[in-house]
């Protein structure tokens, strides 16, 4: 029997699961090797669990979803989070520093009907996660590599060094040195292909923190570059702002100014 794959969604934009469908050259051959048993965006029929691999997109933001992820975990042998929302809470985790009741009033005329948690949290705060795939969005090549590893019984492994190394490897001119641009590259995990410096702009951290990021020197670097405290906080409190090293840095810089 073919391995059974499930793709499930919580609060997210669909962009990470879209990477399966963006594998235009590989999709049909992949479908010969695995059974997309549950993939509502792509398939109208759904087979009941258990599933060999479940890919989880999105963060937990409602009381129902906090319960649903527990059921998803129970019917999954191997659970992989895909993307910044599932792995770090996503950009919607900016609510974690705000008053959600006020947020509701900004968007909805009848906020009392909206059932939502006060926080947006990653899947790992709710259930055990076997592997985390970073990125906003995840990289299609990394996704396929993880699928291939799991199908052959190997534990997936992806590099966790900083974007800087990738930049040098590609021969990009350093945007910090040459242009004085704020760039999260030194503390961000590789995986995107150093896209932003390649397009003459600073990295904004889509792939989350690299291994052991030196956040103290990084915050100092931004200050030396002329960023005010609130600008430093905004830089680290972005797409992956709720992940520990970046959250702590943003909070520390914010505290210093108060």
């Amino acid at each position: 029997m073919k391995p059974r794959i499930a793709v499930v969604k919580f609060a997210s934009c669909d962009g990470c699961q879209l990477q399966f469908l963006n594998a235009e050259d590989e999709l049909l051959s992949l479908a010969e090797r695995v059974d997309f048993a549950r993939f509502p965006e792509a398939r109208s029929r759904e087979r009941a669990g258990p599933y060999d691999i479940t890919f989880v997109e999105g963060s937990i933001t409602t009381p129902e979803d906090a319960q649903r992820i527990v059921r998803v975990r129970e019917e999954s042998r191997y659970l992989v989070t895909i993307g910044a929302c599932a792995t770090a809470g996503g950009v919607q985790a900016l609510r974690n520093w705000a008053d959600v009741e006020a947020y509701k009033r900004v968007v909805y005329p009848s906020p009392e009907f909206i059932a939502t948690l006060s926080t947006s949290t990653p899947i790992s705060e709710h259930v055990r996660v076997d592997f985390e795939l970073w990125g906003c969005p995840i990289d299609k090549t990394q996704l396929l590599a993880v699928v291939r590893s799991l199908l052959s019984g190997a534990t997936p492994s992806l590099p966790a060094h900083s974007v800087c190394l990738e930049c040098k490897r590609r021969g990009h001119v350093c945007v910090v040195v040459a242009r004085g641009e704020p760039c999260l590259g030194p503390v961000t995990r590789t995986g995107c292909g150093a896209l932003c410096p390649g397009l003459d702009r600073g990295c904004y951290g889509c792939f989350g923190p690299a291994d052991d990021p030196n956040m103290t020197s990084f915050a100092q670097l931004l200050t030396i570059q002329g960023l005010r405290a609130e600008e430093v906080t905004r830089r680290v409190r972005g797409i992956n702002g709720y992940v520990a090293p970046w959250r702590e840095t943003g909070d520390a810089v914010e505290r210093q100014t108060h």
């Binding site: 969604k9 919580f10 609060a11 997210s12 934009c13 669909d14 962009g15 990470c16 699961q17 879209l18 990477q19 469908l21 963006n22 235009e24 050259d25 999709l27 049909l28 479908a31 997309f36 509502p40 965006e41 792509a42 398939r43 109208s44 933001t61 979803d65 996503g90 950009v91 919607q92 900016l94 609510r95 705000a98 959600v100 006020a102 947020y103 509701k104 900004v106 968007v107 909805y108 005329p109 009848s110 009907f113 909206i114 939502t116 947006s120 906003c136 969005p137 995107c192 896209l195 932003c196 390649g198 397009l199 003459d200 702009r201 904004y204 889509c206 600008e231 905004r234 972005g238 797409i239």
Partner: protein, 434 residues
């Protein structure tokens, strides 16, 4: 159906599939009338309009892109145009052309996804593109080629197709050289043939005729098929500046629900998307595209919502022709982006997302910090029209088996290519009608 028939039929679709995002449908028909209709969009809200407050205006294209993985370019373009208006910025004509190319890529990618992966399986009795490939591999492979090309165009300008990073206020962070863009030319030439074949294939689907009295709304530009610019136009005579959304439309609450629907002031539901654009801009499609579209035997313009999927294929063809024209014409601008100096003010813009007009409005302070943001995505505007279409199905629903009736409703919803992730960040979670 005699009006004395008091039979009741309830259709439940607990999880809408082959749409973007999470939704459900609950519909009850009694005596030929819809007595209960709930299009429940249970996708959790993400509060983008709230979290944009206090962020830098320059971040808006990157942040709003995250509303939708399928149409991030649309969010970037509406955000950039609205904020450039707030800051009084005029972009270079060559950048304007590149933004048009960028949008062509997204239309091709998003439309090819809907036509082949979301819509087509219904017309072949298949549950997905994968089972469809077993029946019609050539058409599926053609669709995947088209989709891949759309993604390649976006990637050429933005670095990647989902949440591309190259667009910024004032233009792009880096622009391609002539030869970098010319690399797309050969694929665009081949794609022209693929797109013609795609239009003919889709026109051959067994599309129902549910012609109705519908108000179609889209931008209209003096001499182009609309993407980033134009005036608001409708088939019932609307004509307004593209930033005057509130002058013509209102979002309102339905009794006994927390529902916000959009409607044309004083009238009602309206229809956005490819069919609306084709209906209002037929004369801007050019002779080649017109001839292929006419050759399908479908009259254009028309008011049958189910020809929307053909209009989508026609727009793939148009976008490929237009992309080729831009690639041939392209001369790099003097600078990739013009300098943007923040000033206090407000800016509004509509651009044509794959699914229809996407409205952004911002207020910014003198430091360039966003003080308020409002975003009205096409799917939330189409909701009232989707519901009107579902109501019109009532007599048919009573004649069909439960499974067929459910399928009928799903096809009617899917026809709009609804993007629920987009719409629920701004709307209520449930619609109820007394």
């Amino acid at each position: 159906m005699p009006s004395s028939d008091r039979r009741t039929r309830t259709i439940r679709v607990d999880h809408l599939t082959r749409v973007e995002g999470e939704g459900a449908l609950h519909l009850t028909v009694t005596g030929g009338q819809v007595t209960d209709l709930r299009l429940e969009l249970f996708e959790p809200p993400r509060f983008f309009e709230a979290l944009l407050r206090g962020r830098e205006a320059s971040e808006a294209p990157d942040i709003t892109a995250r509303i939708c993985g399928i149409c991030p370019v649309a969010y970037q373009m509406s955000a950039a145009h609205a904020l450039e208006r707030a800051f009084g910025v005029t972009i270079d004509p060559a950048v304007r052309l590149l933004r048009r190319l960028y949008y062509c890529g997204e239309w091709i990618e998003s439309h090819a996804l809907h036509v082949h992966m979301l819509a087509a399986p219904d017309f072949f009795g298949c549950d997905s593109i994968i089972t469809l490939a077993a029946k019609d591999r050539a058409s599926v492979e053609r669709g995947l080629r088209l989709k891949k090309l759309g993604n390649a165009i976006v990637t050429r300008l933005g670095g990647r197709s989902v949440h591309p990073v190259g667009a910024c206020l004032g233009g792009f962070t880096r622009v391609p050289t002539r030869s970098e863009l010319h690399g797309l030319r050969e694929d665009l030439l081949r794609a022209g043939e693929d797109a013609v074949a795609c239009v003919r294939w889709v026109a051959g689907f067994d599309l129902p005729d549910r012609t109705a009295d519908i108000e179609f709304v889209a931008l209209r530009h003096p001499d182009e098929y609309p993407m980033n610019e134009g005036r608001i136009a409708s088939t019932k005579g609307l004509d307004g500046a593209s930033d005057a959304f509130d002058e013509w439309f209102e979002e309102h609450q339905v009794p006994h629900s927390n529902a916000l629907h959009a409607r044309v002031k004083g009238r009602g539901a309206y229809f956005l998307g490819p069919l609306a654009r084709v209906n209002l801009n037929w004369d801007r499609l050019g002779p080649t595209v017109q001839e292929i579209a006419r050759g399908t035997g479908i009259p254009w313009p028309n008011s049958n919502p189910h020809t929307g999927v053909v209009a989508r294929a026609v727009e793939i063809l148009y976008a490929i022709e237009e992309a080729r024209r831009i690639v041939d014409l392209y001369e790099p601008p003097a600078a990739p982006h013009v300098r943007v100096t923040p000033r206090a003010g407000a800016g509004r813009a509509i651009t044509e997302a794959p699914r229809g007009s996407l409205y952004h409005a911002y207020e910014v302070d003198a430091q360039g910090i966003i003080r308020s943001a409002r975003i009205v995505p096409p799917t939330s505007q189409n909701q009232a029209q989707i519901e009107a279409d579902l109501r019109a199905l009532a007599p048919e629903i009573l004649r069909l088996s439960p499974a067929d009736a459910r399928r009928l409703c799903e096809v009617a919803i899917r026809n709009y290519d609804p993007c629920i992730s987009c719409s629920t960040h701004f709307l209520r979670l449930e619609i109820e009608h007394a």
